[in-house]
Amino acid sequence: MKNFKLLTVLFAASLVLFSCSNDDDNPAPVNEEEVITTMTAVLTPVGSGTAVTLQTRDLDGDGPNAPVVTVSGNLVAGTTYNGVMTLLNETEDPAENVTLEIQDEDEEHQFFFIAGGGLDVTTAYSDQDADGNPVGLSFTVTANTASTGTMTITLRHEPTKPNDGTLAGAGGETDIDATFDITVQ
């Protein structure tokens, strides 16, 4: 095997001579520029109370580790919360704020908020793109009665806009899809 290796490399060496850029430097690493690793939705109650943070964080992107999904606390029944969304790419150092990119291309993006499993909350958009359609970088969540269930937040790229507010009606490609376990008490 060793001899073959030597022979092959020798034979091929003549060919290597033809190709000019045969540098021995290590290739440059690629940090994914487009990946969103972290979505943080901070829900601040109107009036007094404790803010609730929903976060999904997937530092290895498409790698084998699942995203870490956290909810900082429970929502209080009868309270309306102002939500603000922050998106980061933490594979870069310092982390890139992807929220700004979404803002720049807000006609091509929309968040969807879907309560499921018996969770009694109502959501509404607080922002609009240039065409007057909702985006969802800021939004409100109203916790109605005490209940538990899930809230799924989905970011769609190039959805049909305007749409009927459902994922099926919007189409497009999913950039983020995270489900949070929520309790209203």
């Binding site: 487009e34 084998p64 790229h157």
Partner: protein, 797 residues
């Protein structure tokens, strides 16, 4: 005759003054097969003496003087040549002439097996007329006409040939003697060849053609340019196509100039342009294509030596169905369940994202010299560069950047010797060294799909065939290939650890970047391949071929190094560094019957493939973008069984009928069916052709593709937040059987004595049937092509 006799008489009177009693005895032979050439005319220029060669190819001149003579030798089937002879004593000398290639009139019946590449396998050939009829199509579509060959599609413009169920790295494509290195490993990587540069395309459905490669366990596709006659001539042809589906067309021209001295030059150019194609019920948005191809070759072709330089350029921009670019499993479910593409726009010629932009350069310099004893010795240097850009739907500053930018450069030198050891024994031997470099541009901002690597190959082969008697021929061959892959690959640390590579391959790490590690895998493979076969001719009509071949294939970079999301398939694909080479033992039997009216070829085969590499789903992985199915490359022992049948029958002088049937079954070591096997297909064609009426031709073709009933169940469940229930994503169930009717017609119009215009009208999918094909990876999202009306004009000049 009389004149020559007169000359002979006169000359004998003239030449008497010197001491002239020398005798020249000549033997005239064909350069190719040393057969004796009778009836050649030999004239001595100086004396105008003349003679004819007899049945043994022998001629004699007596009473020659001690002087130099110039002989002009002419033969009806050969080029006239001059030879110098110096007479000092009585001489016996052999003169070699070469038969003309009457290329322009070459007639080969399609589907007829010719024995050239291997002796013990029946090979299929597509002739120039068929290539011209399908000038607007891809190589894959053209090969689909050969029984046992089907196509693996990504839409209708990215078409790969599948030979007896095997494709991609398992099929070697030879272009003018050069093995194509065009990143053929991927399912959505079509061969980068313009069919118009070819004059014949042959298919060997086995690894037995060892002079080309040892790893073609699916088979070899041999694309050959036009053979150029050794005579003073200038000729050309132009083919134009216009078609309704895609609202586009193609134009292709070729011009060839050659000289009796052996010099020749040929240039060829093609442009194809299509907008969005159409299924029966809707536009297939973003499926246009823009292909450009050009090739040039020149050189000198003499009897015993030749030299040729060849260059070809190929560039293709291919749109990929917009609706096929999706996010996670939930998008996939929506797309599959919607029944039609989720994005349908108005027709356009624009090719937006997602799309591919491919450029392929191929240059070769080759020469040969024939030695009396040794045989024909050929030398070849080849250079290829393949650049692949893939543009995805992206965001922000990256929107117009390619997601994949790979440049594969390959160089090789080869030496081949074709010897005739005796009248019965031929021996082909050769050696090849190849160097390949892959460069993945990091400026894409996307992790490299295929890492940077250097690959070194060294191959050596020998194939002999022995004609034991007039009926039985034996063939045997052996090839040894050594490959070394020296890669520089970044792994995600999380993947590196999850695979336990950090323990198994700790010494490969050359740099730890925290979230990524840079590794330097050096993988080497020593592969043996072989062939053993026989041909038995019972009589002129009945023949039997039997061949056992061993093909061994080094895993390709995709199988070794994949690690990440594959967008167009919406799945995560993972390779494996630990793979062994794939080994295929194929038994192939062909029975052929050919009479004036009836032709039949039956070819059953059995292919045992050890360590067969396939990709299978293993789990569903959560990411921030939702759930994705994970597909991992694995090795299994697989068995492929199948049969290809061809039949043709001449009903009358003008009416003929032909039929083709092919089926293949493949199972892994757990007797599970292997994914993406071509379903059985049955093709029947009836042709009317009247040579007395300007070659008027009508043809009606029926193509029936059965439903694939044997497939692995790779379906998976995902949670739908809207409804709060789990739903099944059906990525396994094959589409229904379909039946297409195609119509062809053509008519010759003579323009002048030299030029003919052939006009053709073709309608494919005559009844505008909606269908989906199991081997089209976009079948989840859209129907296949609807009716297409195509006008074809060809002019020879």
């Amino acid at each position: 005759m009389r004149i020559y006799l007169l000359l002979l008489l006169l000359s004998s009177i003239v030449s008497h003054s010197q001491n002239c009693d020398l005798t020249l005895t000549g033997h005239i032979e064909d350069l190719h097969d040393n057969s004796k050439l009778a009836g050649a005319t030999i004239i001595i220029k100086e004396t105008q003496q003349a003679a004819y060669s007899d049945l043994e190819g022998v001629f004699t001149f007596k009473n020659l003087c001690n002087a130099n003579y110039t002989l002009t030798i002419a033969h009806p089937e050969c080029l006239t040549l001059e030879f110098e002879v110096k007479m000092t004593k009585n001489i016996t000398k052999t003169f070699k002439l070469e038969h003309h290639y009457e290329e322009l009139n070459e007639v080969i019946v399609e589907g007829t097996a010719e024995l050239q590449t291997t002796e013990s396998l029946a090979e299929s050939k597509i002739n120039e007329a068929t290539i011209e009829d399908n000038s607007s199509k891809t190589l894959g579509d053209l090969l689909d006409r050969v029984s046992g060959v089907s196509t693996l599609n990504t839409g209708n413009t990215i078409v790969k040939p599948v030979i007896n169920g095997l494709h991609s790295s398992r099929v070697t494509v030879m272009n003018n003697g050069v093995r194509m290195e065009d990143q053929e490993w991927g399912i959505e990587h079509a061969p980068n060849i313009d069919v118009n540069s070819a004059s014949s395309i042959k298919v060997v459905k086995s690894a037995a053609a060892l002079q080309y490669s040892g790893d073609a366990i699916g088979g070899v596709v041999i694309v050959e340019p036009n053979r150029i006659p050794v005579k003073d001539t200038l000729y050309g042809k132009t083919i134009m196509n216009a078609q309704s589906n895609g609202r586009g067309g193609s134009i292709s021209s070729r011009l060839t100039k050659s000289y009796a001295k052996g010099w020749f030059a040929s240039v060829n150019g093609t442009i194809k342009r299509y907008g969005d194609f159409k299924a029966p019920d809707y536009i297939l948005s973003n499926t246009g294509a823009y292909e450009r191809g050009a090739s040039a070759r020149f050189g000198i072709n003499r009897f015993s030596s030749g030299l040729e330089a060849y260059y070809s350029y190929y560039r293709n921009t291919l749109g990929i169905l917009r609706a096929s670019h999706i996010g996670g499993a939930q998008d996939q479910l929506t797309a599959i369940n919607s029944g039609q593409p989720t994005i349908i726009r108005d027709f356009t010629y624009d090719i937006d994202r997602p799309r591919q932009e491919i450029t392929h350069h191929l240059a070769t310099l080759k020469g040969f010299r024939k030695f009396e004893k040794l045989g024909k010795l050929s030398f070849r240097y080849e250079f290829q560069q393949n650049n692949r850009l893939e543009f995805d739907i992206r965001r922000g500053d990256d929107a117009n950047k390619a997601s994949i930018d790979l440049e594969l450069t390959t160089q090789a030198i080869a030496l081949d010797l074709d010897s005739k050891l005796s009248d019965q024994i031929n021996l082909k031997t050769g050696v090849l060294a190849r160097y390949q470099k892959n460069f993945a541009d990091p400026n894409t901002g996307v992790r490299r799909l295929i890492p940077d690597y250097d690959k070194y190959d060294l191959g050596i082969y020998g194939v002999t065939d022995i004609e034991l008697n007039s009926k039985l021929t034996l063939e045997a061959g052996l090839r040894i290939d050594y490959s070394l892959i020296d890669a520089l690959k970044f792994y995600r640390t999380s993947f590196w650890e999850s695979r336990n590579y950090d323990v198994l391959f700790a010494d490969l790490v050359i740099e730890d970047l925290g979230t990524q590690v840079l590794t330097n895998p050096e993988l080497d493979f020593l592969n043996f391949s072989g062939t053993l076969g026989t041909k038995y001719s019972f009589n002129s009509k009945n023949k039997l071929f039997f061949n056992i071949s061993l093909g061994t294939r080094t895993p390709n970079p995709s199988e070794l190094f994949s690690e990440g999301l594959h967008h167009s398939a919406s799945r995560i694909e993972l390779g494996d560094l630990r793979f062994e080479a794939e080994k295929a033992y194929k038994l192939s039997l062909t029975y052929q019957f050919n009479s004036d009216r009836f032709g039949l070829s039956i070819n059953p085969y059995l292919n045992f493939i050890n360590d067969f590499i396939l990709i299978e789903p293993t789990e569903v992985q959560q990411t921030i973008r939702g759930n994705f199915q994970v597909w991992e490359y694995m090795q299994t022992d697989a068995v492929f069984t199948g049969i290809d049948i061809d039949a043709s029958y001449k009903l009358s002088e003008r009416l003929s009928y032909s039929s083709q049937f092919a089926i293949v079954k493949a199972y892994d070591e757990n007797d599970e069916p292997i994914i993406s096997m071509p379903p059985a297909n049955f093709r029947n064609e009836i042709v009317y052709q009247n040579t007395n009426l300007n070659n008027l031709m009508f043809s009606l073709e029926s193509q029936y593709v059965f439903r694939q009933n044997e497939f692995p169940d790779n379906n998976f469940d995902i949670f739908i937040p809207t409804t709060g229930v789990n739903e099944t994503v059906d990525v396994s169930t094959p589409p229904d059987a379909y039946h297409l009717i195609n119509f062809r017609s053509s008519y010759d119009i003579a323009i002048n004595s030299k030029s003919t215009l052939v006009a053709g009208l073709t309608v494919t999918n005559l009844f505008n049937t909606s269908y989906r094909d199991y081997l089209n990876s976009l079948r989840f999202y859209a129907d296949d092509l609807g009716r297409n009306i195509l006008l074809n004009l060809k002019i020879n000049y």
